[in-house]
Structure formats: structure tokens, C-alpha cells
């Protein structure tokens, strides 16, 4: 998790500009606990969001999809490298991106391009507990909360935005709210109604000695 956070921070730093403002938000559960993996997106009220995104990777390691939540801008290609010594069968039935990479090992030949905004649930057909979510957004300003429930979007061009929250286990979608991003950094906190994370049963890894 820590590595992820570092990786995200690095990403944000790279994409920042000098006159832009910072946006910071923290997500909690209804009971006030810090909520990780919540995505926060600032959508400009007018105009399209320009720019492209580099290819993102969702790896399969130790029979898990890593990371659990990935937020990408529309049109982003995602690689699904299989780092396990056995095959996986990756699929998504989500309307935003329905695809299937049948049993494969190593890195698939082509990355999958997520060209429609929306939520994509990813699973492995042969490992039921493996799951990951990709939120495809039509904006360049997005982040996801860390384990402390904090997310930061740096260098946001000042203007009017629709602030959206999303969480893979959210019970209902929060209404978007308007925010103004100026020079001053904006900090806010949002409570989200999420279902508890039910860890699906995962059999232990094969052992050499039977």
C-alpha cells in the first residue's frame, strides 16, 4: 500500500502546474473510520478534459489483482501482466468495458483500452476471490484515498468542477457536488456509505511438499 501511495504521489507531482491549486479530501465510513480506495474525481463543469494518460498496469501477483482500485482517464490502456507461475482468466462483464483475457500467462500481447467512462469490475474466472475495480473517468483530476482515507489532487486548474466520489462497495452513488478550485488549496471530508469489505475465501498457496 505504501508503495502504491508513493507511486500515486509521483504521478500527481509529474502532472502539476505552477498556478494550479491543490485539492485534498479525506473519506470516511459513516461511522467515521478512514476509508481507503475511495476515488475522488473533479470534473470540469465546461469543456472536455484534454490530454492522454500513460498505460497503467494491474498486475496479477500471488493470486491477487493489484491494485484493488485503479482510476484512469477515459482512453487509458491497462496492461494485465500475470506474474504468477500459473494462468489466470481475466474478465469483466461491466458495461463500461466488457472484455475477457482467457487463460494466459505472462504479459498479454495487447493492453486493454478503457474508452468509456464508468465502473469496471474485474475478476478471474478461475480464482473467485480475485477482484479489482477500474473507474474510468472523463477527467484528468482524480485520486484515490490512501489507507488513512486521504487523497490529494495537485495542480488543479482553477475553475468550477463537479466533485464526484466513488467506492467499489458504495451502497449508492453520491450526487456530484460543485466545487470551485482556486489558488487556495481545498480540503474537505466526505463520509461514504460503503458495505464492509467481505474477504472472499482464498485457499492457501500450493506447497511443494505435499
Amino acid at each position: 500500500m505504501r508503495a502504491q501511495a508513493v507511486w500515486l504521489t509521483a504521478l500527481l507531482v509529474v502532472g502539476g502546474s505552477a498556478d494550479a491549486g491543490d485539492f485534498e479530501a479525506s473519506a470516511t465510513t459513516l461511522s467515521g473510520q478512514p476509508l481507503a480506495d475511495a476515488a475522488v474525481v473533479l470534473e470540469p463543469v465546461s469543456g472536455n478534459m484534454p490530454g492522454t494518460s500513460p498505460t497503467v498496469t494491474i498486475a496479477q501477483r500471488d493470486r491477487e489483482l493489484i491494485p484493488y482500485v485503479t482510476v484512469v482517464q477515459k482512453g487509458t490502456a491497462i496492461e494485465f501482466p500475470n506474474q504468477d507461475p500459473f494462468k489466470h482468466h481475466l474478465y469483466s462483464f461491466s458495461p463500461a468495458k466488457t472484455f475477457e483475457i482467457k487463460l494466459y500467462a505472462g504479459k498479454p500481447a495487447r493492453p486493454v483500452v478503457f474508452d468509456k467512462p464508468g465502473e469496471v469490475a474485474l475478476g478471474c474466472n478461475i480464482h473467485d476471490w480475485m477482484e479489482a475495480y477500474v473507474l474510468v473517468v472523463d477527467s484528468a483530476y482524480f485520486a484515490k484515498t490512501d489507507i488513512n482515507g486521504w487523497a490529494r489532487i495537485a495542480d488543479v486548474a482553477p475553475g468550477s468542477y463537479r466533485l464526484r466520489w466513488w467506492h467499489p462497495r458504495q451502497k449508492r452513488e453520491l450526487r456530484a457536488r460543485a466545487v470551485e478550485i482556486g489558488a487556495e488549496p481545498l480540503r474537505l471530508t466526505q463520509a461514504l456509505d460503503v458495505a464492509p469489505h467481505i474477504v472472499k475465501p482464498k485457499p492457501p498457496a500450493d506447497k511443494d511438499s505435499y
Partner: protein
């Protein structure tokens, strides 16, 4: 009445006791069986319920697992994810077949229907089992029982369809039908019925029970308001029932048939009943046989007792077993023999003359009455001549022995047609069956011949003659008593005539009816005390004193007044009634004599004896007894006998006269002169006095012939040592003549008429003052 019989009582007691014991045993067995059955049912129900719950749980898990596996099927999920209803419907139909679900639904996470296999339901409507969805929401999956629109009950399993996030619910419905119930019934050993109980009542949704029990189930369960364990009556069977709730208003009734549980015990009980009934039957017959064995000898004894009661002693009491009853029978038989012996003796005494062993009068009368009415027969009476002198001279023991000898000689005449009997004294009687006059004559002849051979007793040779009288049936009488009397009368007639034999027909007719009634009247008079004694004084001419009186009988008849002796005495003599009368006369006289003595009156009373009296040895016995009783001195009593009485049987008369003289009685010959007795004969008798008949005395003074006879008689008598009494001295002249001519005593109206005893003292007193010499 039924239970009076010993046999019945034995049987009833034995069988009753056995039935009681058996009933107790059966009751005990039945009770313990019921308990065992009840416990068994409880146990089976408990075990069955446990198995049922376990099966249900297993079933649920199996279904859930299967559903989960199904819902995780990639192709399935892929199809669902298409959101294309026809595709979804076809895939759930297909997968429903795989898992064996009758109903499959795909439900949106918001609870609305996406598609179902029934193709009937409107998509997008909210499914009716939101509770299951809610449960699945929290637990990942859920199971419940729901009655669907088609009225059928389904077990519904709800599992999520994950991709990998839950994209929908899959609901699979498994029909809970009779097949399901029968499967579970087979595994639990209980009847399984799913019921729905709501406000409208109880409905059976499925059941392992067959019709018509199934139809009866709702009513039976509905009888109780709640699902409470208990026994339900279903049809003709009873079911112990427990309930397992399945869901809202729905529960499963698990039932165990009491009858089926009882069945093995029922078999046992049936066997037991059979044994008991067979036992009772066997016991019944056994005790009947036993009772018979006990009662039969008793009945035989009772039969023997009845025979003995009826007088049949011949058949011996049956020899029975050697037990108590056998002993009783032996004693009883002994008793029978003894009683028979005694009765024989009694019969002998009753029907036999003890001296000769010949039949007696009673037997004779019975024999006679047994004769057929149409038969002719003869009754013959035989009286020995000169038996009294033999008796007197040789003593009664010799007389008895003679009678015994005669009896044994006569016994040879006893035959099928002839009865030989002895009535009394020397009187033998013969009953000749089918005999007419000639036969009777011939029989009489043979009798006389038989008696002609002399008897020898103690060296004395005794010649016995007999006189016979015969009466014939039915000419001379129709009953035994009459015939005997007529034969007796004939016999007396024969004696008088010395003819040896006489027939009743010739010996004088049967007394006239009025005479017969006279006999009866005399008997009555005797018992009513209508006979009186009058006394006529006799005057001793020498002293002028009244020294003697003659007792004369009178009959004070209630209607006819005083009846003259002439009117009834001859008849009494003829019929023999005199024999009853004379003893009374003597007794009365002797009693009167004693009374006079007490009063200081010295008189010698005289009593008249008839011919029959003179023949009667019993009278002598009677007189002897009276003399002893009253202590009479010699010559205190006088007995007057007529000449004719002496002539009936001179020998017997002599014998008896001797006896009377020996007793100290004064003996007088009455009515002398009208009979044929000669003085020479009279002189041989032990008499003391001669009473000259009144016909000679009346007017003797005026009748020279009579006077001559009387005078010479007086002289002769005096010469022979006899005193003389002149009877019928009616006038003073007669009296004077008698006195003058040396007559010792006079009697007649000139002195006094006969008078009652109570008048005599006064008369005597008056007579004493008056000098008769005045005449």
C-alpha cells in the same frame, strides 16, 4: 336356578377364577404394551425429528452449494451479464435443469425481477421474498420456503451472481411436493406433511400420506389452534404428531401412526388373547368334565336316594370311586340294605300274623282290593271247634303252639289263587281267587280232611274240628269287610246248626239297610255315651232284703227317646256289636259297684253275657283285669248267661264258664225253661243260680201247670245246690206264691221296674221302710 346345580357352580367358580387371572394378566400386558408403544412412539418421533432436521439442513446446504456453484459458472454469469432477457431466460432454464430446480429467477440487486423460468411473471416487479434477499445480503446466501402464486410450495435458495461484484441474485426454487415428503418420510420413518396454518385454516401443501388420510389431515390439525405436539385422529388411525416450523405460517407435521407402532404388540396381544381364550375354553371343558366326575356320583347317589324314597330297595347303590363320595356310597348302600331289612320286618309285622307267619287281616284286605272287579272269588272263615277248652285246659302256650301247627299245615294250601290268613284267635281266613260255590266246597272239604289228622303236642293227642263259613264275591258282598263279616256270620250259623260249613247266602240275608245304619248308629251312640244302664232290683225272699240288681242296657236316643233293648240287642248280638258293648257294660257296672260300696250300699250287680261274649276269650281277660283293678271280692259280680248262649258251643262255653267261676264270679243261667238245656246238663256247669223265665212265673198262682213246673224246678235246683230266681214277678200274688214255694229270689215289676243308678239309693231307702210282707 341355573346356579343351583353343583356342577354349574364348580364350573363357574373355576372358569371365573381363570378368567379373572387372565383378565388381570391381559390388563397388565396391555397396559405395559401401551406404555412401551407410547415410549417407542416418542423415541421414534424424536429420532425422526432429528433425522428430519439433519436432512433438511443437509438438503439446504447441498442446494445452496449447488446453487453457489451454479451461479459461479462463468458461462452462466456471462449470459446474465448480457442483460438480454431471452438469453437469460434460456440460460436459467438450462441451468435450472442442471441443478434440478423447478423455478429459477434472476433478480436485480434492487429486488426486482430480471427474468424467470416461468415466463409468466412480469419482469421488473418486486419478487415476493425480499426477506430472503435481505438474508442473503447479510449472509451471502439464504434459503426459505415460499408458497408461490401457483399455490405450490418451494424451497427457495437465493445466491448472488458475482462478476466478481454481485451483479444479480439467482433464486432457485425446489418444489416441496408429495415426492419430497415421501422421500423424507422414507428416511425418517415418519409421515411427513407440510402444512400452512393461517387465519383461514389449515391447508396441506404436501404430504407423504395417502388419500383419504391426507384429506382428513387439515381437519385433524385444525382442531388445535397451534402447532402443539399431540395425538391426532386421522381416519381410523391415530398419529402422534410433532411440528417443525419451516417458515411463516408453514410448518412440517411429523407423524407416527400409533396403530403401526402398536402392530407388533397387537400381534403379541392377539397371540395372547388366542392363548387366553383357548385356555379358558380348555379350562371350561376341563372343569365341566371335572365337575361331571364330581357331580355324577352325587347324582347317582341322589338317584339311588330317590329310588329308596320311592320304596325300591332292590337296586344296589352303584359302586363308585374310592374317594369320599365312594365311601359315602358304600355307607349309603349299607343303609339301603338295613332300611330294606327293617322295612321287610315292618312289612312282615304289618302284613303277617306274628304267631303263624300267615298273612293278617290288613294283608287280606289289600289282597282282596287288588283283585280284578270282574273276577269271582270266595272268602272263607274257619273257626276251630272246642279251641277254648284246649286253651283253658292246657294253657295258652299250648294253644298258641296248636295254632302255629295248624297254621303250618294250612300253609300248604297257600297258592297263587289261594291266600291263607289268620285274623285273630282261632279264626283262619281264606281268599279263593276265581272260585265259585263248588270250588269253595271242594276247598272246604280238603281243609276238613287236612285237619282230620290229629295234632300231637307234648304227648297230648289233639283232635281238631273246624267250622267254616263262606261268602262269595260278588253275590254276598262287594268289599272285603262285608264278605268277611258275612262269612263269619255264616260260620256262626254253621256252628249253631253244627253243620260244619255254611254259605252266607243260606245263613241269612245281609242285614237290611236300616239295620246297617243301626250298626253305625250304635257305634255313634256308644261314642256319644247314649247307652245307659238301668238296674232292676232282685228281692231276697227269705230275708226280704234287696241283695242283687240286674244291669239292663237302655239307649237314650236323641230323636227316638228311650229305645227298648229288644229293639237293638238281638241285632247287636247278630252283628257282633255286642262284643263291643258288653265290655263297656261290665266296666260301667263294676265302676258303679265301687261307687255303691263307697256309699255303703251292698249290692251284687248282674251282667248279661251273650253267646258271642261267652265265646270271646278277650272278655275274660278284660274281666280279670277289672277284678284286679277294683279289688272285687268273690261273688261280688254276677254273670247271667242264657241257655241258648251255652248251646252255641257247649265245650267253649264250659271252658269259659270255668274260667269265670275261677275268677270268683257268680254265674247264673238266664231265661231257664225256654231253651233245650236239661237240668242234667246244667248241673255239670259251674253255675250257682238258675233264673226261671218270666213266662213261667207270670200268673203262676193261677196256672197250675206252670206252678208245678216252677215248684219242681225249685225243688230240683235246691237239690242240686242251685239257688233259684223267679223272673217277671209282676204281681204281689206272683211274689207271694214264689215266697211260699221256696223260691230264693224274685225279680219283677211287683218289686221294682229297672231304674237309673242315681235313683236306686232313694228307692232302696223307701223299700227298706216298707214291709213287703204286707202283701
Amino acid at each position: 336356578m341355573l346356579f343351583r346345580s353343583l356342577q354349574h357352580r364348580i364350573v363357574i367358580v373355576f372358569v371365573g377364577l381363570l378368567v379373572l387371572v387372565m383378565a388381570l394378566m391381559l390388563a397388565l400386558v396391555t397396559r405395559s404394551n401401551s406404555r412401551i408403544v407410547a415410549a417407542e412412539i416418542e423415541r421414534e418421533l424424536a429420532a425422526g425429528t432429528q433425522v428430519f432436521s439433519l436432512l433438511m439442513e443437509q438438503n439446504r446446504r447441498q442446494l445452496e452449494t449447488a446453487a453457489t456453484v451454479l451461479s459461479a459458472d462463468f458461462a452462466f454469469r456471462e449470459a446474465i451479464a448480457t442483460r438480454d432477457r431471452p438469453t437469460i431466460r434460456s440460460v436459467i432454464r438450462n441451468h435450472g435443469l442442471r441443478i434440478g430446480a423447478q423455478v429459477m429467477m434472476v433478480i436485480h440487486p434492487d429486488g426486482t425481477l430480471i427474468a424467470d423460468t416461468q415466463n409468466r411473471n412480469d419482469p421488473n416487479h418486486t419478487v415476493p421474498f425480499q426477506d430472503l434477499l435481505a438474508a442473503a445480503e447479510s449472509a451471502g446466501k439464504s434459503t426459505g420456503y415460499k408458497q408461490m402464486k401457483d399455490g405450490r410450495l418451494y424451497q427457495i435458495v437465493v445466491v448472488p451472481i458475482l462478476a466478481p461484484k454481485r451483479i444479480a441474485w439467482a433464486a432457485m426454487g425446489f418444489l416441496v411436493d408429495d415426492h419430497w415428503a415421501r422421500d423424507l418420510s422414507g428416511m425418517t420413518g415418519l409421515a411427513v406433511s407440510v402444512i400452512r396454518r393461517d387465519a383461514t385454516g389449515v391447508a396441506v401443501l404436501s404430504s407423504s400420506l395417502e388419500e383419504p388420510k391426507r384429506a382428513a389431515l387439515p381437519t385433524a390439525i385444525g382442531a388445535l389452534a397451534t402447532d402443539r405436539s399431540g395425538v391426532l385422529d386421522i381416519g381410523d388411525e391415530h398419529y402422534q404428531t410433532v411440528y417443525v416450523p419451516l417458515g411463516k405460517e408453514i410448518s412440517v407435521a411429523l407423524q407416527r401412526s400409533v396403530e403401526q407402532a402398536k402392530a407388533p404388540f397387537q400381534t403379541l396381544q392377539t397371540a395372547l388373547w388366542t392363548i387366553v381364550l383357548a385356555g379358558v375354553v380348555v379350562f371350561f371343558f376341563g372343569s365341566v368334565m371335572l365337575a361331571r366326575r364330581i357331580v355324577r356320583p352325587v347324582n347317582e347317589l341322589a338317584g339311588a336316594a330317590r329310588r329308596i324314597e320311592a320304596g325300591d330297595y332292590a337296586e344296589p347303590v352303584p359302586r363308585l370311586t374310592s374317594d369320599e363320595i365312594g365311601q359315602l356310597a358304600t355307607s349309603f348302600d349299607l343303609m339301603r340294605e338295613r332300611v330294606a331289612n327293617r322295612e321287610q320286618k315292618i312289612l312282615k309285622l304289618a302284613y303277617e300274623d306274628s304267631l303263624t307267619g300267615l298273612p293278617n287281616r290288613t294283608r287280606f284286605i289289600e289282597e282282596f282290593s287288588s283283585l280284578p272287579e270282574t273276577s269271582r272269588s270266595a272268602v272263607m272263615v274257619m273257626n276251630l271247634d272246642r279251641f277254648a277248652p284246649i286253651n283253658s285246659a292246657l294253657g295258652h302256650p299250648v294253644g298258641d303252639r296248636l295254632l302255629t301247627e295248624i297254621g303250618s299245615r294250612l300253609r300248604s294250601f297257600q297258592s297263587a289263587t289261594t291266600l291263607v290268613g289268620r285274623f285273630w284267635g282261632d279264626e283262619f281266613v281264606f281268599l279263593l281267587r276265581e272260585a265259585d260255590r263248588e270250588a269253595a266246597s271242594r276247598f272246604a272239604e280238603s281243609l276238613i280232611v287236612a285237619l282230620r289228622k290229629p295234632f300231637t303236642l307234648d304227648g297230648h293227642r289233639l283232635d281238631v274240628d273246624a267250622t267254616l263259613g263262606v261268602a262269595l264275591y260278588p253275590d254276598d258282598g262287594r268289599d272285603a269287610v262285608t264278605l268277611h263279616r258275612r262269612a263269619e256270620l255264616a260260620m256262626y250259623a254253621a256252628k249253631r246248626q253244627r253243620s260244619g260249613i255254611a254259605f252266607a247266602a243260606e245263613a241269612g240275608a245281609e242285614p237290611l239297610p236300616e239295620q246297617l245304619s243301626l250298626i253305625w248308629e250304635m257305634r255313634e251312640a256308644r261314642s256319644r255315651g247314649e247307652f245307659l244302664l238301668y238296674y232292676q232290683p232282685k228281692l231276697d225272699l227269705a230275708s226280704g232284703q234287696i241283695t242283687e240288681v240286674e244291669a239292663l242296657i237302655r239307649w237314650q236316643h236323641p230323636q227316638r227317646g228311650l229305645v227298648s233293648p229288644a229293639a237293638f240287642i238281638p241285632f247287636a248280638e247278630k252283628t257282633g256289636f255286642i262284643r263291643e258293648l258288653t265290655p263297656w257294660v261290665i266296666e260301667t257296672v263294676v265302676a258303679q259297684l265301687a261307687q255303691w260300696r263307697k256309699a255303703g250300699i251292698e249290692l251284687v250287680p248282674a251282667v248279661n253275657l251273650s253267646a258271642l261274649d261267652l265265646m270271646n276269650p278277650k272278655l275274660i281277660v278284660h274281666i280279670r283285669r277289672l277284678i284286679g283293678q277294683y279289688g272285687l271280692a268273690a261273688k261280688a259280680l254276677c254273670v247271667e248267661i242264657t241257655e241258648s248262649a251255652l248251646m252255641e258251643d257247649p265245650e267253649l262255653a264250659l271252658a269259659h264258664l270255668n274260667e269265670l267261676a275261677a275268677l270268683g264270679l257268680k254265674l247264673a243261667i238266664d231265661d231257664y225253661g225256654v231253651g233245650r238245656a236239661s237240668l242234667a246238663y246244667l248241673q255239670t256247669l259251674p253255675v250257682h243260680e238258675l233264673k226261671i223265665d218270666g213266662s213261667f212265673i207270670r200268673a203262676v198262682a193261677e196256672t197250675p201247670k206252670n206252678a208245678a213246673i216252677v215248684r219242681s224246678t225249685i225243688v230240683l235246683c235246691h237239690a242240686l245246690g242251685l239257688s233259684v230266681v223267679g223272673e217277671g214277678a209282676e204281681t204281689a200274688d206272683d211274689l207271694a206264691w214264689l215266697s211260699t214255694n221256696g223260691c230264693d229270689v224274685a225279680q219283677g215289676y211287683s218289686i221294682a221296674k229297672p231304674m237309673p243308678a242315681e235313683k236306686l239309693p232313694d228307692w232302696l231307702a223307701r223299700f227298706g221302710k216298707r214291709a213287703w210282707k204286707q202283701a
